[in-house]
């Protein structure tokens, strides 16, 4: 079996889905293949980070509506919904390398808002912003089609637009003073600039786990800043 074939099966290995013989063969290959070992180490890091995400409670009244709109939990546990610990326990990442990277990216993106993505086999795998497989020609392989990213991205855009609108209302109503508005605007420019740079880098190297994570981290920061900003506007009656 070639290195590429093994690379494609690293996520199955991490999930414990390989048979004894395959597992042993893969471990033997990884032991002699520094590149595969490096990829496996990165994937383990992705999984560890995804599982360690803190699901913070929402801090603004706007958030529940937005969370509902973008299809994530807004905190609290409605009847019949499993606990956060249970969600974490059952998170299984079972994608190809770029899918796994991007899935982790979306987890990071939405994780701080009490996000809930059911990342189970066959549900919402998500590629990087400009999907391109690490292995050309293998996009249509054993894994499900990469359909989730655009949807998630659209939800993210909706959330950002909603929060930007709330911020704009705070600005127009005078609830946010001009100095604070200026600071928030500057900070959003700073983050947007970072997002643009990360996107460009990712377009040139779409298989990079680091760049996927970094872009997701930066996008999450924008969402978080907007969430906080919408909560900053005090009642100044």
């Amino acid at each position: 079996m070639t290195r590429d074939q093994w690379t494609d099966r690293l996520s199955e290995y991490l999930d414990g889905d390989l048979g004894v013989a395959e597992r042993a063969a893969l471990e033997a290959h990884v032991a002699s293949c520094p590149a595969c070992e490096a990829i496996l180490a990165e994937l383990r890091r992705v999984v560890a980070r995804a599982q360690a995400i803190h699901d913070l409670p929402p801090t603004t009244d706007l958030w529940p509506a937005i969370a509902q709109q973008i299809g994530v939990s807004s905190g609290g546990e409605p009847h019949g919904v499993v606990s956060l610990a249970a969600r974490r326990a059952r998170r299984r990442l079972s994608f190809t390398v770029p899918q796994l990277a991007a899935a982790a990216a979306v987890l990071l993106l939405l994780g701080s808002g009490g996000a809930y993505l059911t990342l189970q086999r066959g549900t919402s795998p998500v590629p990087p912003p400009r999907p391109r497989s690490l292995e050309p020609g293998r996009e249509g392989g054993r894994r499900p089609p990469l359909v989730g990213w655009e949807k998630t991205r659209a939800k993210y855009d909706v959330a950002v637009a909603e929060l930007e609108s709330a911020l704009e209302q705070g600005r127009k109503s005078g609830r946010l003073d001009s100095a604070t508005v200026r600071v928030l605007d500057q900070s959003l420019v700073t983050i947007d600039s970072a997002i643009v740079q990360a996107r460009r880098a990712l377009a040139a190297d779409p298989g990079s786990v680091y760049l996927n994570q970094h872009l997701a981290d930066t996008m999450r920061r924008k969402l978080e800043l907007l969430r906080r900003a919408s909560a900053f506007a005090p009642a100044r009656t």
């Binding site: 740079q197 680091y210 970094h214 920061r221 005090p234």
Partner: protein, 290 residues
């Protein structure tokens, strides 16, 4: 004496109120503008001294679990109040301001402090410590517990702090000195990150920036697996390292048994590792140059 000063003398009023409290109560202060200064003492009472407009009234109410401090105005929300509050060392603090500087000294309890426009300075604190400012630096010293510090456009400084740490800003440096922790996460978009503290076996440390350098002191006997990622930047170490795994933008190496996990990331910037003394000297020189 100019006209403004005369007017100020006329309208300024002092309030001085002391209320008894008992264990289990917390202090909750809201202030639109001015400052909130809280000092700790060993008495079971809260003293509130406030300087404010004569049009405002300071309301100090002790309920079953909370001492609430608010300012009310005949014309709506009170605009500027300078609070000097003395509270028991054991009393948890919940302090909120808008255009307000917040300072806390000597408490040994949990603190939540948030302001939009203003600096946050806290010496002491234990348990859950959450310090957040939009436009203002945050500085925390001599504290222990579960620590969460956040700013939008200013730096974060933590000194002699013990416990789990999360520090995040958008534009500003993050400096951590004398840290005792097994769990540290630092993020900034535009700013440098500096860490000088423990690397404990089994601990998890993550330092990330987009535009900025990351400098870190690694103790001599640390056991840590280090992951370094940079897109446009260099890596430098004051001591030899042996890289074990490499991908395009990331590489790893192990020091000692490698039981702790350390992630260092900067998109545009350099990453530098030194020993504690070396890093302190370098950081000090850099600050003097600036």
């Amino acid at each position: 004496m100019n006209v403004a000063a005369v007017v100020a003398l006329v309208v300024t009023q002092q309030t001085d109120t002391t209320v008894p409290v008992r264990a289990g109560m917390r202090l909750d202060v809201e202030n639109f503008g001015g400052e909130i200064v809280v000092r700790a003492w060993n008495q079971n009472s809260v003293r509130v001294q406030a300087t404010h407009s004569s049009r405002d009234r300071i309301d100090v109410s002790a309920e079953r679990t909370t001492v609430n401090v608010r300012a009310e105005s005949r014309r709506g929300l009170a605009q500027m109040v300078e609070y000097q509050i003395t509270a028991p060392t054991w009393m948890p603090l919940n302090l909120h301001g808008v255009s307000t500087d917040i300072e806390v000294d000597g408490t040994q309890a949990a603190i939540t402090a948030e302001t939009v426009q203003g600096e946050l300075k806290v010496r002491g604190g234990s348990g859950q410590l959450s310090l957040k400012s939009v436009q203002g630096a945050v500085k925390l010293q001599n504290a222990k517990g579960h620590i969460d510090v956040y700013s939008v456009n200013e730096g974060l400084t933590l000194e002699n702090v013990n416990g789990d740490i999360s520090a995040e800003t958008v534009s500003g440096d993050v400096t951590l000195q004398g840290i005792e922790s097994a769990n540290v996460e630092v993020n900034t978009v535009s700013g440098d990150v500096h860490y000088d503290g423990t690397i404990k076996d089994g601990g998890h440390y993550r330092f990330a920036t987009h535009n900025g350098d990351v400098t870190l002191a690694v103790p001599e006997r640390a056991n840590v697996t280090v992951s370094v990622a940079t897109f446009n930047g260099d890596f430098d170490s004051c001591f030899p390292v042996s890289v074990t795994t490499t991908t395009k933008h990331r590489f790893s190496f192990t020091i000692g048994s490698g039981s702790a996990r350390l992630e260092l990331e900067t998109f545009n910037g350099d990453i530098k590792l030194c020993r504690p003394g070396q890093l302190h000297d370098k950081h000090h020189d850099d600050q003097e140059d600036n």
